[in-house]
């Protein structure tokens, strides 16, 4: 049985990503000489093509494969985010892998396959499909985290991520089983409140366990303990991927469940509230104490998950989920760009075997590499949420959604946390701009590929900060395209 043509077209990005991943694996052994550039080019081409082909699902909304996938504005928005992340990470990885002598076709194949998983998570309207998508993206990232095999830190990172991640996945799976027991279906849209007595609590338990599994994937407190070690040990371009792509996909899955399953909104609300507050504080307070920039950025990504959770709580609290969902989507796009830019910059500056990761190593960088330092400063200011940068608008929309749902206290906590965060972001900028350059260690010049990624991320950060109209309109449209409770 061959699926109908429309279903295939709706699935075009996933198909292109998988095929280019397989192609990379097949041709890699036959390439010699100039193979490095060819492999990177092919991988970038594959992800770029997938990005372009998102036009098919965008113009053909509907369900595919007997209702397992729901292709709507929401899934298309997340598709574009994760595919863009994959594209930029692939280009940004090439020089790093060369320097660390771990240049393989498999690396890019894994990035592409991980992206397939994320895309499926974004469009899944059914829990089995969501689960396989989640596993596809998770297992690829476990492997990528351990890619520097000779470095014990990297091994530790992969091992920790794998063990704890599998544990979290088991919770998610148990939750699916309980939901199936309570409602008799795995289709999200058909999960109505059970009428039979005795099953309501089963539904709640299932939703609770699923929240645990997904909270792990987005690194929300109290399931964030793995994040700093895993992010620090993984190769930095992989950290850039982990911090932006899978997180966006897991948030998308959470949002879709929240918007589709009626019971989720009421049952999850307080859990989301508490987790949001906790995550913001844990991330920001721990980040202050860090002297390693990579680790600091890892903690900062925890705190950002907290900000996004505020918008999720806002979506759960009100009957109109659109405001909260749109805020999450906008923030995901903004966050992916600035976090990716920051990590790719750090991956280049770290030098061979990531030696230069301390804040002290960034002394006087503005004199040595004014343009790159300016880019990094821009990402940090955007992460902080300074006006004119996109981070400010992202936070503003979240703030707005929280107030509209009358979550005054969460909004206040968000504001307090932004002030706390200012301390550690500004410290790095001060070190870069106001200290004498480090004499012993001249940083290597930026390769063109990294420059390209940094300029795209910087341009995106500016664009989203100055002209939010179009993207916000798309995010709102995407939020409205969700089926609704």
């Amino acid at each position: 049985m061959f699926p109908p043509r429309q279903d295939v077209l709706r699935l075009m990005p996933e198909i292109i990503l998988s095929l280019s991943g397989i192609l990379l694996m097949l041709i890699e052994p036959f390439l010699s000489g100039a193979r490095r550039t060819l492999i990177v080019t092919l991988a970038a081409l594959g992800s770029g093509l997938a990005l372009v082909s998102t036009i098919y699902p965008a113009t053909l909304p509907g369900t595919a494969f007997s209702g397992l996938l729901r292709i709507d504005g929401f899934s298309v928005f997340v598709h574009v985010v994760v595919e863009a992340v994959a594209f930029l990470v692939i280009i940004g990885s090439a020089d790093y892998l060369d320097r660390e002598k771990i240049q393989h076709g498999e690396y890019y194949a894994l990035v592409l396959f991980a992206t397939v998983g994320m895309c499926v998570m974004a469009g899944a309207a059914e829990l089995m499909t969501a689960f396989v998508g989640l596993e596809t993206s998770s297992i690829s990232t476990y492997i990528l985290a351990g890619y520097r095999r000779d470095v014990p830190r990297s091994n530790e990172s992969a091992m920790k991520y794998f063990l704890l991640g599998s544990f979290a996945t088991a919770f998610f799976l148990y939750g699916i089983a309980l939901l199936y027991g309570a409602t008799g279906t795995t289709q999200l849209a058909r999960m109505t409140f059970p009428t039979t007595p005795g099953r309501e609590r089963l539904l709640d338990l299932g939703l609770g366990l699923m929240l645990v599994g997904l909270a792990f994937k987005i690194a929300a407190a109290p399931f964030q303990l793995w994040t700093p070690d895993v992010y620090e040990g993984a190769p930095t371009p992989v950290t850039a991927l982990m911090a932006s792509g899978p997180k966006a996909a897991a948030f998308a899955l959470l949002l879709r469940i929240l918007a589709t399953v009626g019971a989720a909104g009421t049952f999850w609300f307080w859990a989301l509230w508490v987790s949001a507050a906790l995550t913001m504080f844990v991330g920001n307070l721990a980040a202050i104490a860090q002297s390693n920039v990579k680790r600091m950025l890892a903690y900062s990504s925890i705190s950002h998950a907290g900000y996004i959770l505020v918008a999720l709580a806002a979506a759960a609290a009100s009957d109109q989920v659109e405001l909260g969902v749109a805020a999450v989507l906008y923030y995901l796009a903004v966050y992916a760009l600035m976090k990716l830019g920051a990590f790719i910059f750090v991956s280049q500056l770290g030098g061979e075997s990531e030696r230069h990761m301390e804040i002290d190593d960034f002394r006087g960088l503005a004199v040595r590499q004014p343009v790159a330092a300016a880019c990094f400063a821009l990402f940090l200011l955007s992460l902080l949420g300074l006006p004119v940068t996109s981070g400010f608008l992202g936070k503003f929309y979240i703030f707005n959604a929280a107030l509209a749902s009358r979550l005054i206290w969460l909004a206040v906590l968000l504001a307090i946390n932004t002030v706390i965060a200012a301390f550690y972001y500004l410290r790095v900028i001060v070190v870069m701009y106001m200290r004498q350059p480090n004499q012993t260690w001249p940083p290597a010049p930026m390769p063109w590929a990294v420059t390209f990624v940094l300029s795209i991320a910087a341009a995106g950060t500016f664009y989203l900060g100055l002209f939010p109209g179009r993207v916000m309109a798309l995010a709102t449209q995407a939020a409205l395209s969700l089926p609704g409770r």
Binding site: M1, F65, Q103, H104, T129, V132, R201, L205
Partner: protein, 176 residues
Amino acid sequence: MTPQLVIFLVLAAIAIAGAVNVILQRHPIHSAISLISVMIALAGLFLLLESEFIAVVQIIVYAGAIMVLFVFVIMLLNAGAEERTNMSRMARYAGVPLAIFLLIELAYQIGAAALSMTPQPLAEDVTRRLSMLLFQDFVFPFELTSILILIAILGALVLAQRGESVPAKGGPKTIT
């Protein structure tokens, strides 16, 4: 007590005891053998539900193929008994009570829900319906699983390659 209930209780007890034993054993080969007993008990449970096909697949694939692979890997790695570590204070005073609470809550709620369920008449040809589900309704996740397995193979290859495996530019790649 119907005979079905007795068989169910016996099989369930074997499965749970085996599963607990998998964790408690210190030598991987003992864990693997306990796991086999879990798989076989599960196959028995499937038989009790009149799903003969799944029961047989459970035995052939899990108790057969996958366990043989497990044992082979343990043999090849020559894995010895693992060291035991002490529980952290956090795990002892917060983790264990919470885990027990979750277990009781789950057991209680599943039990309560099961009481309210009425037995459904079994469909005629279970295997046929299963294959329809697998290859028609759920063909998408089924196919996606093949990518998942591809990733697993890729991962084993990438992570298990030992030593200086990156060839000089142009050289053939050796996998050792």
